[in-house]
């Protein structure tokens, strides 16, 4: 991805809008008693599209915004989302998966890592109340819901950033065949 001023501005706007939507709308919608948390999906999608360094920076800022707006312990969400953004970017850089469902696997893995990492950090910071085994159910439900939502979230992020992404070979080929001026038949 070309990281110029316009791309960075668009990433900032995307992060702000996504954060506000997450905090004011998505988190207030509960499916099977579990509030929706799209943060790992959004950060993983951005990391997967833009690479490890922009992904990590985006994750850090997104997490810091969430921690600040919700008056949570600063650093917890930003640490987890930094790792998520970096990891998703590295998957793209090392393996460059071409399969159309790759974002689903990345989204599911990102949600699982985020949920487990936040749980682990909470235990490290000290949980005084007895923890229910239902926390496992909540984590699993979040992973299932986010797996189902991974593709639309990825498609939305991709659409926002499409101007700055390298040309998709399939799209390039399609354009070559459909553009009249480039077709050898049109010269006749």
């Amino acid at each position: 991805m070309t990281l110029n001023g316009a791309a960075i501005t668009r990433l900032i706007l995307l992060g702000l809008v996504a954060s506000i939507l997450q905090l004011t709308a998505a988190s207030q919608v509960s499916i099977f008693g579990v509030p929706m948390d799209l943060s790992p999906l959004i950060v993983a999608s951005i990391g997967f599209l833009t690479g490890s360094v922009p992904g990590a920076v985006f994750g850090f800022c997104f997490g810091l915004f969430a921690d600040t707006a919700l008056m949570q312990t600063l650093g917890v969400t930003s640490l987890v989302l930094t790792v998520i953004g970096y990891g998703a970017g590295r998957v793209r850089e090392l393996r460059d998966p071409a399969h159309g469902l790759a974002p689903v696997a990345v989204g599911a893995a990102a949600t699982a890592i985020a949920a487990l990492a936040v749980t682990l950090l909470q235990f490290l910071l000290g949980v005084e109340a007895p923890v229910s085994a239902q926390v496992v159910r909540q984590i699993l439900m979040t992973i299932v819901i986010n797996t189902l939502l991974a593709l639309p979230v990825y498609a939305l992020c991709r659409r926002v950033l499409i101007r700055f992404l390298p040309d998709d070979p399939r799209r390039r080929r399609r354009r070559a065949y459909t553009t009249g001026g480039l077709s050898p038949l049109s010269r006749a």
Binding site: I20, L21, Q22, L23, T24, A25, A26, S27, Q28, V29, S30, I31, G33, V34, P35, M36, D37, S39, S52, V53, A56, V57, F60, G63, L64, D67, T68, A69, L70, M71, Q72, T73, L74, G75, V76, S78, L79, T82, V83, Y86, V118, T119, Q122, L125, V127, E128, A129, P130, V131, S132, A133, Q134, V135, V136, Q138, I139
Partner: protein
Amino acid sequence: MHDKVVRRRRAVLALLVALSLFLLTAYFGESAGGGLHATQRGALEVLAPIQEGANKALKPARDLFGWFGDTLDAQDERDRLQRERDQLRSEVAQLQVQNRELEQLKGLQEINTAGGLQQYAPVASRVYQRSPSTWYQTVTINKGSSDGVKVDDPVVNGQGLVGKVKSVSHGNAVVMLLTDQDFGVSALAPRRGEPGSITPIPGAGGDLLFDLVDNAEEIRTGDLVVTAGTTSQRLPSVYPRSILIGQVKRIDRGDGDLDRRIHVKPAADLLHLDIVQVLTKPDANLQADATPTAP
């Protein structure tokens, strides 16, 4: 060239992780009046109008999702309500008999009932933001210190106790819900007058534990649980007496009485909070008690 790129990439990651750890350590170590907390409150003040506007604009979308969920739950709800109605009919007959006796005791209990919550100077506010995390069960409301809201003020809605104020800025406040891991309140099962303590069960979504009950075997499923209020002037409670917390929904019997776990379902629907009230003078009744009465 490749080595340089790799080094730069690793440096960025290390920097961000170190920054996160520094923030985490500093925030965790400082008091509520520290610099990072103050920065957070300032940021909340700036972001609040934007988030409140977005919250209002997105309400129809949230309601649409809620409608799907409500439809799925409607059948179970109907069956449950039918059972409850049958039970309530028989209870009403008993209550009508007891009502006459209670009329005579009314005069004695007037001190507890007169005024209701009005004496605690309630401030109505709208919930506009909610934490999605299992570990931080908080909501943000659009009333703050300028409306008289203070840290630790109790928060209620029409159904019962919701939580308490965790942090306040000028025009907004963060409310810690009953189900937050740090929450705790001294409580009472009024049917038998058994005191105890309500604590959350993190991750159990809408499940509370009625703990430290001396005669736990006296508690029955369906018993109501209310706030105990201040029982000792030395250790005043931030919660007024007799605010409904919830209802005993299940009792896990262990090997002995000490292993008995009493599960309480909160009376307030914490997943669908819209309007809540902050009791800005929760100790109003204590002050009234302390004021010498005119001869």
